[in-house]
């Protein structure tokens, strides 16, 4: 996936102003930045939900705009922030919805689709919830079901918009471990996160977004610096390193 010179205006506001970003196969890229920095808009451009006002988006060498929705849905999956479901679909039914771009005209799932969905649920540790109504799940369990739906889509690019916001630490690690496994199998992932520690641990590269521009991009050690974090978030931080060299960020105070 490659974005070059992407600009988006919503009303009179420039949400993205000339963003260049590429995600290589096998790579997990973390997208950081304060609320309203343009992270979600960037994901919407990357999955084709929003056409940029300027710039190009290429997916595996082809212009994203020239692919059909169905084709896109077979290669890109998005885990959104908001996962409200108004009707009592079972977890299995929700996960099977991920098979939509792979189904034939009649719209009935075959044995293969059921296998893929079952495997996705097992992988997210929610196999036992298959027949539960999503309305009775906790926020975290529902989030895991939505991630499982994205897995059932079998995408080559996975976009996650704060996938771990409602999750406890164990579930956070579970989701990101699965993302790493997918990357090891050749897929790529772009993950929006507010959890700097988890981002530093699980991403190959971090991209810091501020006011619609890229402030910094590189390995976690180069991006998570006090100066850059002050510029991006307006906070003072203390920086340390875990025994294996992964940066650890502890917030200290608001920047003056």
């Amino acid at each position: 996936m490659e974005l070059s010179g992407v600009a988006v205006r919503l009303g009179s506001r420039a949400v993205l102003a000339g963003v260049n970003l590429s995600v290589a196969p096998g790579e997990v890229v973390g997208l950081l930045g304060r609320n309203g920095a343009g992270k979600t808009t960037l994901l919407r451009v990357a999955c084709g939900a929003l056409a940029p006002d300027a710039g190009r988006v290429l997916l595996e060498g082809r212009a994203l705009a020239s692919t059909s929705r169905r084709e896109r849905a077979r290669s890109v999956a998005l885990v959104p922030q908001d996962t409200q479901v108004p009707f009592p679909f079972s977890v299995a039914e929700v996960v099977l919805m991920g098979r939509t771009p792979h189904l034939g005209w009649l719209g009935f799932e075959g044995a293969h689709d059921l296998d893929v969905a079952r495997a996705a649920m097992e992988r997210m540790g929610i196999g036992a919830l298959a027949d539960r109504s999503v309305l009775t799940l906790s926020g975290g369990e529902r989030q895991l079901a939505i991630v499982a739906r994205a897995l059932a889509q079998q995408p080559r690019l996975l976009l996650l918009d704060e996938p771990t916001a409602f999750l406890d630490l164990r579930h956070r690690l579970e989701v990101l471990t699965v993302v790493r496994e997918l990357a090891a199998a050749g897929a790529s992932a772009l993950v929006v996160s507010h959890d700097l520690g988890v981002a530093a641990r699980f991403c190959d590269r971090l991209v810091l977004l501020g006011d619609g521009r890229i402030l910094a991009s590189g390995p976690p050690r180069e991006v998570l610096t006090p100066d850059l974090l002050r510029a991006a978030f307006g906070i003072e931080v203390e920086l340390g390193f875990a025994t294996d060299g992964v940066p650890v960020v502890v917030p200290r105070a608001l920047a003056p």
Partner: protein, 340 residues
């Protein structure tokens, strides 16, 4: 892992087909002059039968049962489609104001028709015109940058329904007592004025609506997750929404034109079925058609029979029978912990 298999779809629909057949037999048998179930079914399946009972069944009750079945099916399918499109299980076919527009058209003719030289035959025509005009208004007013958002649709509908009721009150106060009674009957919904020449257009519009909704029934599952999620999964959301809205608007317009505002059917039939069958629209859409038809036919049979010598508007029966039935179903599911 319980998911919808084609075998279950066929089995449930076959069972509901039998329910509808039973309802039709009841609808043909019940009424002021008694006809046995056996006689009624005999007329239904044997075109050559004669006699006074056959005459009543064929000339009076059959067209009315057919109208009831088509109206019930149309309202229920429209209800289930609107509930998914608006992502709101409380939506009914009347929520978008299409019924308000139809009612306004119908009431205009009921109240001013005499002065304009229009007979009762003009009522359904004017009502359907009102429904079409409202649908056009809805598409025009609710579309923002090419998107039809659920909240804007709902708000437009609520506002238009309020406007239409005010206009109806105004029109009703222009007419006399006789007009007032017919307007009242029409607003509460009844099948007494459903004439047999309306059956063909009603059936055609119902068939058109169903032909649009059935192939899009899995899409309805995805749309109920939200527009963006559905688009993510490869659905052409805006096209699907417009096709579904337009087709169901035609169904609602046709149903209201024939029978007035029969409430509750389009709300509780889909809702009750969802409680029993689950929320998968591939099953819910055809099941709503069959169960809605059966429900309204039985309610109309009751409307003709409960008070000796007179007839209740069926709209009163649907609410009286449907309300408690629905509450009982909901309580049962809550006790089983199936819904939150």
């Amino acid at each position: 892992m319980k998911v919808l298999r084609p075998a279950r779809l066929v089995a449930v629909l076959a069972a509901l087909g039998l329910v509808l057949l039973t309802a039709i037999a009841i609808g043909l048998a019940w009424g002021p002059s008694s006809v046995s179930l056996r006689e009624a079914l005999g007329v239904l399946f044997d075109a050559g039968s004669t006699g006074p009972a056959a005459d009543i069944v064929r000339r009076i009750r059959l067209p009315r049962v057919a109208a009831g079945a088509l109206v019930g099916a149309s309202l229920s399918v429209a209800g289930v489609v609107f509930q998914a499109l608006l992502r709101n299980p409380l939506a009914d076919p009347f929520v978008l104001g299409i019924s308000g527009g139809a009612a306004l058209g119908g009431v205009a003719v009921l109240s001013l028709g005499h002065a304009l030289g229009l007979g009762a035959g003009a009522v359904p025509v004017a009502a359907f015109g009102g429904a079409l005009a409202t649908t056009a208004l809805l598409f025009g007013a609710a579309g923002v940058r090419g998107r039809l958002a659920a909240t804007t649709l709902l708000l437009t509908g609520v506002v238009f329904n309020a406007f239409a009721s005010a206009a109806i009150v105004f029109l009703a106060s222009l007419g006399g007592m006789a007009e007032g009674t017919s307007i009242f009957l029409w607003l509460i919904g009844n099948l007494a004025s459903a004439r047999s020449e309306l059956l063909l257009p009603l059936a055609a519009l119902f068939a058109l609506g169903l032909a649009c909704a059935l192939p899009l029934s899995r899409t309805l599952n995805l749309l109920s997750l939200g527009d963006e999620a559905a688009e993510q999964l490869g659905i052409s959301v805006e096209i699907a929404k417009r096709v579904l809205l337009f087709a169901t608007a035609l169904m609602v317009g046709a149903a209201v034109s024939v029978s007035g505002l029969i409430g509750f059917v389009g709300l509780i039939v889909p809702h009750a079925l969802r409680l029993v069958l689950g929320p998968d629209h591939r099953l819910l859409v055809p099941a709503s058609a069959l169960a809605g038809a059966a429900f309204l036919v039985v309610c109309d049979a009751a409307a003709r029979s409960v008070l000796p010598g007179r007839e209740l508007p069926v709209g009163a029966i649907t609410a009286l029978a449907g309300g408690p039935l629905f509450l009982a179903l909901m309580r049962r599911q809550q006790r089983r912990g199936l819904i939150a």
